[in-house]
Amino acid sequence: MLDSTIAELSAALTARSLSSVELTSAVLDRIDAENPRLNAFLTVEREAALEQAKAADARRAAGENGPLLGIPVAHKDILMTAGVRTTCGSRMLANFVAPYDAHVVARMAAAGMVMVGKTNMDEFAMGSSNETSHFGPVMNPWDVERVPGGSSGGSAAAVAARMVPAATGTDTGGSIRQPAAFSGICGLKPTYGVCSRYGLVAFASSLDQAGPFARTAEDCALLLSAMAGHDARDSTSLDRAAEDYSGDLERPLKGLRIGVPHEYVSQGIDDEVTRRIYEALEALLRLGATRVDISLPNVKLSVPVYYVIAPAEASSNLSRFDGVRYGHRAESYTDLNDMYQKSRAEGFGGEVKRRILTGTYVLSHGYYDAYYLKAQQVRRLIAEDFKRAYEQCDLIMGPTAPTTAFRIGENVNDPVKMYLNDIFTIAANLTGGPAMSIPCGFDADGMPVGLQIQGNYFQEARILNVAHCYQQVTDWHRRSPQGLAS
């Protein structure tokens, strides 16, 4: 049952061969069995979930149906969930109870999804390995000595370990796609503005987006259709006609032009990763697509651009954590300033502090033009590269990450080395374009490799279509880690 996709589970629920209460109980039991080993969940809401499952079954008995009615979901702990602890993986919010639901959480609940709990994450979404969480690292279900990726490591591990069929994540520099790649599942970042950021604790406001994790593209399409939509409470939420992201899944790939940037397949990338990517491309060419060699000359500047802009925005967004209205307040301090300084020093971990300090510096008097303004100009150069590329191709593909999952502790002392994990994912956040990672094989150690599919603005349906067609002729997405509790 827990190996089934959302689509399969929905069919079983519709046929009444399974109830949401039965499904949710199985999911909760699986979480109890796996979580001590993987640390994917920070909060599990057993009673509340079973209540929601009963309510979903009642809605179905009253004649309602929908593809997500009664399906369990886990939410990344950066999303507000009313009445439920929301920590952002930080000591700063260790006991914070959300007073309201994030927009995407409310939309999924309205569709009848059953929230089983909140997942572990890098602190305030700053990280690529889920090692900066105040609550301990998450283990990769494929090899518990390795990281699941980050910052949405808990959500990725939960889906990969079949603890839950659906999970939400957020992506600011790759934090959905990279953990999807490291954990062998599908993860999608929509076009900026497609999902409301209301209730998504802000890290970098011009980059953050929420998105779905699942094991198939078909499932991701169902989840995205529920999550997407205009919200007046988020001034960056786009007011567009509702889209059914499942509508185009079966469209044939004949005539599809796949752009492969030579910067994505050149030196410095793991051989096995490159080989899996080329094999995936071959499969798509056999389905009727054509390959176009392209160049994104400025894409190598993505990492320095991001590590100016994201910390700058973070330094502003995290200034609200001052111990006054919510969050950690120091036990003892001499005056108001001291209260701020000590509360923030105690509440934030090392990586968060480093990013706030970096951001403060690049925005400070005398440095703003040289760093922040400059980075914004280079951001435009990168966006122009992509604009030009989409004149020659429909989608851009390459590896999601330069390597497969590395060992826990391997990169924690070298922030820049950690940052280079995001080298392929960051550009989609800077430009705002949609991008998805899907599993495309394994390396010699049995660790998953992720294929990244990027598209022009609002091309989510096309990306999901290509991913779905690929998943009809391959079975990487159905593989399961060994050693899961049954």
Binding site: A232, V324, R344, L357, Y361, L420
Partner: protein
């Protein structure tokens, strides 16, 4: 596998970091004050070393020719949406203040600011 990763790191570094940018301890303390985060003397040198590495990486942006390029602050070219100037929020302070460290009579308590 990690050998290739180290090659990537060196490759990127060779492209980007011809000269080192020095960040002094005084800089670190000044920024820490602006950010209202207390950095102890013990932490300061570790922070300085790590920030130094980060600034080496981002410093290379300064060599890129961006003459005449309009800064891109956002993915969208949007105007801030407007709405009618009517009250739509309700008073939820009891709910919101449940997370407050110290309150009294609906007010948040903080150390005295004015002598």
């Amino acid at each position: 596998m990690m050998g290739e990763y180290d090659t990537l790191v060196s490759f990127v570094f060779a492209q980007f970091f011809p000269r080192k940018m020095a960040l002094s301890l005084a800089d670190v303390q000044r920024i820490a004050y602006l950010a209202r985060i207390e950095i102890t003397p013990a932490e300061a040198s570790d922070v300085e070393a790590k920030l130094g590495r980060i600034f080496d990486m981002i410093g290379e942006l300064r060599a890129v020719d961006t003459t005449g390029i309009t800064p891109m602050s956002h993915a969208q070219d949007l105007m801030l949406p407007l709405r009618p100037d009517v009250v739509t929020e309700t008073d939820e302070h009891l709910v919101y203040q449940q997370n407050a460290p110290a309150t009294e009579g609906g007010l948040y308590l903080v150390p005295k600011v004015i002598e």
